[in-house]
């Protein structure tokens, strides 16, 4: 109990004297704020990407690809297979008894970014007539839906914001065809918002490249997945593979989001080492400025543990303040910023940087770790100080 009283007394005394050491203490705060700001803003990229991908998945929707394909663009499914898939058990049916699915054809078209005019690959997705039942989240926010058999497209909200030449009435071109933009759609913040959609049959006839890339299927319940998959894979006439939508989008962005996290931790790690040196400096000087004080306290009978804890507490407090400032900076400047990358397996993906509470917590944990390491050695030094020499040194 006495120990705790001692710790409390010394720590309180230290903290009260903090304003006198404001300039040196700021080194810790600013140093750590820098580290945390960089770490959280870079990690916000992968968090935002993962969030967009998670939005794209529904538990009762699956994507059928050719066996062996890991992404839509390299898959191919012919008309016969599409017909066979319609009769597989587990597929949800609408009121008229028609299976709810869409044979989709994908093309990459070249658009230009508004900000610097650079050319990027954007997915032009041909979708089947049952789009409204299959993807109820797709909502027209401007203009109208495309009509089949005429060259009309609708553009995702994110794509419309990022690329030039995709306003209502503008024209975009794929091979041999020019399409008129007739609508802008929103789809609940998922990856399709980065895309352009048209009628599948119109798209296929427009360039004579005859097959679908995937078949997206609504199941009657999430539990039907296994039944559907077994029926599909056991049919010798089909060589297909089924992915739960969520799993598909997760693996499609895994590579790039891993690279980003890796980069964040490497850069953040190197910066953290620098910040540790800064913290060490500050705390050593805090200890040496108070040599007299510490020696006096020790002479009065305060224990070594109280000295260690008080120095550590000061370092931790400063670090936590720095971490909070850094996380706040990242949040204020970057949360919601829209960025795009072509590093995924499916054209450009547009997403918002997301500084989530969890991410801010990660930043503050890093800050605490830096503070702890930076405070530890000076704390030990304070505790080991031979009282007699320290008093004489004055």
């Amino acid at each position: 109990m006495k120990l705790f009283r001692q710790i409390a007394a010394v720590t309180a005394m230290n903290l009260r004297s903090l304003p006198q050491r404001a300039a040196t203490s700021l080194v810790i705060v600013i140093g750590i704020a820098g580290v945390v700001a960089v770490l959280t803003s870079v990690l916000a990229m992968s968090t935002g990407m993962i969030k967009t991908m998670n939005n794209s998945g529904r538990d009762d929707r699956v994507i059928v690809l050719r066996n062996g394909s890991t992404n839509e663009t390299s898959s191919a499914i012919n008309r016969d297979s599409l017909r066979l898939i319609m009769d597989v058990p587990g597929v949800k049916r609408d009121d008229a008894g028609k299976p709810i699915l869409s044979g989709e054809a994908l093309r990459l078209i070249s658009l230009h970014k508004k900000e610097d005019g650079s050319q990027v690959n954007v997915v032009l997705r041909g979708v089947g007539p049952q789009l409204p039942e299959l993807r109820p989240e797709v909502r027209i926010v401007e203009g109208r839906m495309f009509n089949p058999a005429v060259n009309e497209v609708i553009v995702g909200k994110s794509a419309a914001a990022q690329y030039s030449g995709v306003k209502l009435g503008d024209h975009v071109s794929s091979r041999r065809t020019t399409w008129t933009v007739v609508g802008i759609f929103e789809s609940g913040g998922d990856s399709h918002q980065s895309e352009v959609m048209a009628d599948a049959e119109t798209l296929i006839t427009s360039d004579g490249r005859g097959s679908f890339q995937n078949v997206t299927v609504m199941l009657d319940s999430p539990a039907s997945f296994q039944k559907f998959k077994d029926a599909l894979t056991s049919n010798p006439a089909l060589s297909l593979d089924v992915w739960k939508e969520r799993d598909y989008y997760e693996q499609a962005s895994k590579g790039i989001s891993r690279v980003i996290s890796f980069l964040a931790y490497i850069v953040g790690g190197i910066m953290a080492v620098g910040a540790v040196f800064g913290a060490l400096n500050t705390m050593y000087s805090a200890v040496s400025e108070r040599l007299r004080e510490i020696a006096t306290l020790r002479a009065m009978g305060f224990g070594a543990a109280a000295m260690v804890v008080s120095v550590l507490a000061e370092a931790l407090l400063l670090a936590a303040i720095g971490g909070a400032i850094g996380a706040a900076i990242a949040w204020a400047f970057f949360n919601g910023n829209t960025v795009s990358t072509g590093g995924t397996a499916m054209g450009q993906l547009i997403f918002d940087l997301t500084v989530s509470p969890r991410l801010m917590l990660v930043g503050i944990v890093w800050a605490a770790a830096i503070g702890l390491i930076g405070g530890l050695f000076p704390a030990i030094r304070a505790a080991r100080l031979p009282v007699a020499t320290a008093l004489r040194a004055i």
Partner: protein
Amino acid sequence: MKYFSLIWAGLWRKRTRTVFTMLSVVVAFLLFGLLQGFNQGFHTLESNQDLDRLYITAKSNMTDGLPIAHLSRIKSVPGVKAVSHWTYFGGFYQNAKDPVPAFATDVDGLFAVYKEMKVKPEYLDAMRKTRNGALISEAIAKARGWKVGDRVPIGTSIWTKKDGGSTWDFEIVGTFDASRYGQGFPGFYMNYTYFDETSAFGHGVIHYYLVSIVDPHQAQQISRQIDALFANSSFETQTQTESAMVLQALKQLGDLSFIANSIVGAVMFTLLFLTANTMMQSVRERTSELAVLKTLGFSDGKVLLLVLTEALVLCLFAAAMGLLVSSAVFSSPPMKAMFGNPHMPAIVIGMGAAIALLLSFASGLPPAWRARQLNIVDALAGR
């Protein structure tokens, strides 16, 4: 120079503090060197590309492909030296998650267009004679342990064979050295004729035409000429220099230099604060010593210079260390594999030196000024 020992003593007055300050400056410049090095590395990657090489893709999108019939018409454009082509194979080895950068090409044209690529004549000869032959880069041969004479099955996510299978067997007939072009350069080539005969669909599809031209100055003009040749046909082309294409591919990844620059900015700001603080503190502690120097007859200017030089020595030395470490990282084997011919770009070293100078002035000048303004009597009296 005669004051060197004085500066030295000043620096080492508080050993731990100087060491830690120095280390954090080293770390900051290490980071600076790495990020800017990468940044510049991409630019060098870009300028490494020859201006006398053009890439032709379908105007609508690369993935749309162009017909093989374009080949003879491109060859006939004046100023064109050699033409080759690539068709993307989408290859993988055993598992779709283990990609092999395979392309169908005509090897004679390929080695004419990529002049710095080294291959033994007998390998080229074997490739011409072996229908299902494959030439692979030494890097791939080493990484996968494939040897000349091996038969390797390569799966493809795109091209089904006429017999329905999607695993193609190739016989490795030789290796080549493409290290000059970096890791991103495709390292697995099959004969286009074999590819075209065997695949079930997509006959005569070419994704890239590679053109080398006689005079790099004519790059723009020849590009326009080629595009005009196919304008308003059902297969319009887009002709770009290699560097423009590489830049475009990098831009697809996102704005790398912006990210690198903002991180460096954050680091430098933090660092400036830290170093300036240390110098301030050290001058404050030495108030009376500096006063003694002045009493001994050191002029105000000299005292200012002494303190400033201290900051200069500290920053420049630490910055040099940081840049040295980062350039060591750059010449490490993994970097070599990635960039082909990596070296710390001289411009990064120059920028680093400039920043270090700026840093030492910004952090050294305020305390040096304070030292200059010291009033001997007040300082000695501890006021």
